[in-house]
């Protein structure tokens, strides 16, 4: 079951190809990071998925049922766009109630949802404010609230924490984390550490093309990479022999170990630690896998 399937999608703006034959698949229920440099096509991808930009060519499928159709899919997709303002004169409460009703909620349910989401994004005391009375952060929180109204199956979050102060950004991450599993989430951000914590799937995009995609564990090589911070240089030959490592790299004080796939990570780690202790080398820190940033940069280099 897939939430999103794109095959060879091209989106042109004049001569420029914002999406250039992009093909990707996002499984249903995944929390998917969409990673790429500025201008790589992330925002265009979200707009194409939400039916706001018709693709120039290629196939877009949501929920295995064709491209987004507001008549059929209203209420199933939530979008938090990067730059969008609520209605100019309505209060936040009135705007949210309107969006909830358009999403198919009845009057009473809309009322309840709006009140609930205003509380979740800490805007309940701003319910009667108009858009010009809001700060940038408040607008972003409003945007998050409207994206999740009515519990859509697919939510597209375009840089949800951009421009937020650290406290609100952390709260926003927590809010998104709580929605994991209840919907398919696509999140674009330049904060890769944030995505590493939130997401279980990732796609890397470069110049409108897919560079790499897959489960986060595979991309981070959580099952095959170990990094240790040591007190001194170890005997690398003995370490290689003991754990059957494919590759060892010593860059004091860090030792990077790439393990064979057939050895469970916990067993390999135990052997590694025993060997280092046998050699009298102190272990200050141990972490598995590589960072998302490292994985992303490696994928970019390979592409």
């Amino acid at each position: 079951m897939t939430a999103v399937r794109l095959v060879d999608v091209v989106k042109r703006f004049g001569r420029r190809r914002a999406l250039d034959g992009l093909s990707l698949v996002v499984p249903r229920g995944a929390t998917c990071a969409v990673i790429g440099p500025n201008g790589s096509g992330k925002t265009t991808l979200f707009a194409v998925l939400a039916g706001l930009l018709p693709p120039t060519s290629g196939s877009v499928q949501l929920f295995d049922a064709g491209p987004f159709d507001a008549r059929r899919d209203a209420g199933r997709l939530g979008l938090m766009p990067q730059d969008a303002a609520p209605s100019a004169h309505a209060t936040l409460e009135q705007s949210l109630r309107y969006y909830a009703r358009l999403a198919g909620l009845g009057a009473a349910d809309a009322e309840r949802e709006v009140s609930d989401w205003l509380t979740r994004v800490r805007l309940q005391d701003r319910a009667r404010s108009r858009q010009h009375e809001l700060s940038h952060g408040m607008r972003r929180r409003f945007s998050i609230a409207q994206a999740f109204l009515g519990s859509p199956e697919l939510v597209l979050l375009d840089e949800p924490t951009a421009g937020l102060d650290p406290e609100i950004a952390a709260e926003t991450r927590e809010l998104i984390a709580k929605r994991r599993g209840s919907a398919t989430l696509l999140i674009s951000s330049h904060q890769l550490s944030e995505l590493e914590d939130l997401c279980d799937y990732a796609v890397f995009i470069e110049q409108g093309k897919l560079v790499r995609q897959g489960p986060m564990r595979e991309l981070l090589q959580s099952d095959s990479r170990v990094r240790l911070k040591l007190t001194r240089s170890p005997d690398l030959a003995r370490v290689r022999q003991r754990v059957g490592a494919l590759a060892l790299e010593w860059d004091a004080p860090l030792l990077d170990v790439r393990l064979r796939g057939d050895l469970p990570i916990d067993v390999a780690n135990a052997e590694l630690l025993r060997e280092l202790l046998d050699q009298g080398v102190g272990v200050l820190e141990l972490s598995t896998g590589q960072s998302l940033e490292a994985s992303y940069l490696a994928a970019r280099r390979q592409s």
Binding site: G51, L52, A85, P86, L102, S143
Partner: protein
């Protein structure tokens, strides 16, 4: 129709749009000015009518005793002078003698002000949301046709509110002066509805501009240019000098809303119904053209 349009959502969009417009300070100020203008105009019109009646009374008093000149007779002689000021066509002047003078004044005022009124209150409604990105919150929940048409319906309702505000102001001023009877009130309502139909044609034309250019400032300036072009086009297509050389242009005159203004004044329903149908068709066709551009475009 229900397959093409989600009627429930169209109604939601229209209602929100009407409320949103009425929350706007600009719209409230424009409608207030329009109402104040209608009140002031009514006051001046009533004075002019009284002056014309005074002049008729004076001229008739030479042949009849001034006290015995009946009001009906005075008005019968005074009204044509006033109507001549509004309408040039002699046949229509005769027909308008049956219409309440107050409604003639308000109808004249509304028909002449409705295009700028629509431009000020609704001219860039579609473009505003597209430019600010508000559509990105909305178009994931409602299809484009229901949204675009819902906004049009909302602004058509706003126009009706505005015209009724003017009619009410006219009625109040008339009531506080010489009083207003039921027939005049009904005629005021009819004049408002006819001006509304006329305004809907312009609403459709301005929607076409807004859906094509998608920027509020460009939509406003293009709509002003369009008003000028419509005026110029009609002048050229009505000019015997030009139509003698290009006879086809004489038929083109029917695509201009102003061409139906006189027919809308007609108290004969058949004639005014034809004009109403043509004006609604101009509005609908213009909106359809705008929507055709927006339907497959970027939002």
């Amino acid at each position: 129709m229900s397959r093409l349009i989600d009627v429930r959502k169209l109604a939601l969009v229209a209602r929100f749009e009407l409320n949103e417009a009425l929350r706007s300070r600009l719209v409230v100020v424009v409608l207030a000015l329009y109402g104040a203008g209608a009140a002031l105009g009514t006051y001046l019109f009533a004075r002019s009518l009284a002056a014309a009646e005074g002049a008729v009374r004076d001229s008739l008093s030479g042949t009849l005793s001034a006290h015995s000149v009946p009001d009906d007779l005075v008005r019968q002689h005074a009204l044509p002078r006033v109507i001549e000021f509004f309408v040039e066509d002699p046949a229509l002047q005769k027909e308008l003698l049956d219409v309440e003078p107050l409604a003639i004044f308000y109808g004249f005022m509304a028909l002449n002000l409705v295009a700028p009124l629509v431009l000020l209150t609704s001219g860039s409604a579609h473009a505003n949301e597209l430019a600010t990105g508000t559509t990105r919150f909305v178009l994931t929940r409602v299809d484009r046709l229901s949204w675009a048409l819902g906004k049009l319906v909302g602004h058509a309702a706003l126009l009706l509110v505005g015209l009724l505000v003017g009619a009410l102001a006219t009625g109040v001023v008339a009531w506080s002066g010489a009083g207003i009877d039921a027939a005049s009130a009904v005629w005021l309502g009819r004049a408002s509805l006819r001006a509304w139909v006329y305004g809907v044609a312009y609403l459709g034309l301005f929607s076409l501009v807004a859906l094509v250019v998608r920027s509020p400032s460009r939509a406003r300036s293009s709509s002003v240019a369009l008003l000028f072009l419509l005026w110029l086009g009609r002048v050229l297509c009505s000019s015997p000098l030009i139509t003698a050389r290009v006879p086809l242009l004489a038929h083109l005159v029917w695509v201009f809303p102003a061409q139906y203004e006189l027919a809308l004044w007609s108290p004969r329903w058949l004639e005014s119904l034809g004009a109403i149908g043509a004006l609604l068709a101009i509005g609908a066709a213009s909106f359809a053209l705008g929507y055709a551009s927006f339907r497959r475009g970027d939002a």
